[in-house]
């Protein structure tokens, strides 16, 4: 199970869980579930373009995720935010579908981008992931109190001269970066579960911010490690276990804290 071909997967998933768990805490706090689902999908055409022209997928994914943030902010001004998000993600997905249909190996590529390709993780992708995980944690720690206040009580935050727009950008750009890094591993569609379900469970189990934040990271690790192990033993796709166990984690945290 820890043989060399899976070693990269273990390291990459561990690093990703650190970034996803810590950012997920704020996704849940800000009720940005839809954004956390939409931005990974915005990265999708980037991955498709990368396979079409043969450059490193991470650049394409990152570029399009950032583009997604910009479009999101522009679209949101046109009207309602949730409609903007829905149309944005459809447009990006349709674009990705078009790019993929122009290339060869259409079907296999679509599956890999949407649901992840665990064995496709190379040694070269570890370093960017490690840098990202460190950067996300440090940036969050740097702005932790401000972001916490702005996420839970935006009005109070603006009274303390914390810029709402600035925080929104800060959060969305981090979300875009984590999404781009997560797509090759768990796929566009399941990034969301890795972000939200550990954090939602952690916030149920603890009400102290730093404790809940650390718990979210720990649960994200648990979720991704057990998914890799189960995927290894069963030979079934990793994203199936991430999605299923994510839902179980959420349910258990609700059942055990009901009293």
């Amino acid at each position: 199970m820890f043989s060399s071909y899976l070693l990269h997967t273990w390291i990459a998933a561990t690093l990703l869980a650190i970034a996803a768990g810590s950012l997920g805490y704020f996704v849940v706090l800000r009720r940005s579930a839809f954004a956390a689902h939409a931005l990974p999908l915005a990265a999708f055409p980037g991955g498709a373009l990368a396979t079409l022209f043969g450059f490193t997928p991470l650049w394409g994914l990152g570029g399009f995720a950032i583009l997604g943030v910009i479009f999101l902010r522009v679209f949101a001004r046109l009207g309602r935010r949730d409609v903007a998000m829905g149309l944005l993600l459809s447009t990006f997905l349709a674009l990705g579908g078009l790019f993929l249909s122009l290339g060869r190996e259409y079907a296999a590529r679509v599956y890999g981008l949407l649901f992840g390709e665990v064995l496709g993780i190379s040694a070269a992708s570890i370093l960017p992931l490690a840098l990202l995980a460190i950067a996300v944690v440090l940036l969050l720690l740097w702005r932790f109190p401000a972001l916490l206040l702005q996420s839970s009580q935006a009005e109070l935050a603006s009274a303390r001269a914390i810029s709402n727009t600035g925080m929104e950008w800060f959060f969305l750009v981090l979300l875009a970066l984590v999404s781009a890094a997560a797509v090759p591993i768990v796929g566009t569609l399941l990034v969301f579960t890795l972000l939200v379900s550990p954090a939602a469970a952690a916030q149920r189990l603890s009400s102290r911010p730093y404790q809940a934040w650390l718990l979210a990271i720990a649960l994200a690790e648990l979720l991704s490690w057990s998914s890799i192990a189960l995927s290894y033993w069963s030979n079934w796709p990793l994203s199936f276990f991430v999605g299923g166990q994510g839902a179980l984690l959420f349910l258990f945290s609700r059942i055990f804290t009901r009293a």
Binding site: V28, R31, A33, F34, A36, H37, L41, L78, G79, R80, D82, V83, M85, G86, L87, L89, S90, T91, L93, A94, L95, G97, L98, S101, L102, Y106, A107, V110, Y111, L114, F115, G116, G187, L189, L190, F192, T193, V196, S197, A200, W236, P237, S239, F240, F241, V242, G243, G244, G246, A247, F250
Partner: protein, 294 residues
């Protein structure tokens, strides 16, 4: 893929070969049915800011499509069954606490997507359905069986009848559930009915333009219509009209893209989504979101 294509010099727009093609005829009918139902349901969805639920129901139905291919039953029933199950699950998980609705929606969505990851994988590895992922996620409107048409017609007729019966209560609980409760409406049951109808709409668009693009057909026409319409009933007509134009235009453009791109057709869903986006941007330019009096 369009079948029996004959290139004629006298028909530069390929309209004759488009309309005579039997695969296109089925596609147009199915697309029209999906457009009418999605346009109507979209109005409620946009009004109550329920876009994420609408999107999640479409995405969740992919698991049904994947299981359908695996078991060898028609994708329509798979999509429908899974969309309804997801609708019931979301209703059960999220109705009690409105503030947790987004989370519950997302968790159901993640679970369903995990199941589709598994079954699409099994489809490809064990049943040789190598195009399963593309068919389920991006639609397969040109390969739909004509036998599906009648069940779909019946489904849409029932759904539209229910929408016209419950039109006022739906609008009321969309605007303000508390007001609905005060008026003595069975809010929970109406809510479930609404979710089931939304699931049916999502399943139909999953079949035609694909699971992950179903959101565009649901939200885009409705959001544009709400900007343009002055009266509630107008918004339904406009939404259906815009959805129909986008779907028909998308099918036509995908069909003729065969001629300009050396035989590699571009996906229908790409054109449908692009047309919907153009409508939305145009409507945003024309008028601000009107506070229509409902």
């Amino acid at each position: 893929m369009p079948t029996n294509i004959s290139i004629t010099m006298t028909d530069p727009l390929h309209l004759a070969s488009f309309l005579q093609n039997s695969a296109v005829q089925t596609a147009l009918w199915m697309g029209a049915l999906a457009a009418v139902l999605n346009g109507s349901m979209g109005i409620f969805t946009v009004l109550r800011q329920h876009s994420f639920a609408g999107h999640a129901l479409g995405d969740s139905s992919s698991a049904g499509g994947a299981i359908g291919i695996f078991l060898g039953i028609s994708a329509l029933w798979g999509f429908l069954a899974m969309a309804w199950i997801a609708a019931l699950a979301m209703g059960a998980l999220g109705l009690r606490q409105a503030r947790e609705r987004d989370l519950a929606t997302g968790i159901v969505l993640g679970c369903a997507l995990g199941i589709s990851a598994l079954f699409l994988y099994l489809d490809v590895t064990s049943t040789q359905a190598s195009s399963a992922t593309v068919d389920v996620m991006f639609g397969s409107i040109f390969t739909l069986a004509p036998q599906l048409l009648w069940p779909t017609v019946i489904l849409v007729v029932i759904a539209i009848t229910l929408i016209s019966i419950f039109y006022r209560p739906f609008l009321l609980i969309s605007a303000d559930p508390d007001l609905g409760r005060a008026a003595g409406l069975p809010v929970r049951r109406l809510e479930l009915l609404y979710l089931l109808l939304l699931g049916s709409a999502a399943a139909l668009s999953a079949l035609s333009i694909g699971v992950i693009l179903a959101t565009a057909l649901l939200l885009g026409p409705a959001a544009s219509a709400l900007r343009l319409a002055r009266k509630p009933w107008q918004s339904f007509l406009y939404a259906q009209g815009i959805a129909l134009i986008a779907v028909f235009g998308g099918i036509y453009l995908a069909f003729i893209s065969y001629y300009w791109s050396d035989g590699a057709s571009w996906p229908v869903s790409f054109f449908v989504v692009t047309l919907i986006l153009l409508f939305y941007l145009a409507s945003a330019a024309i008028g601000p979101m009107r506070k229509a009096k409902f």
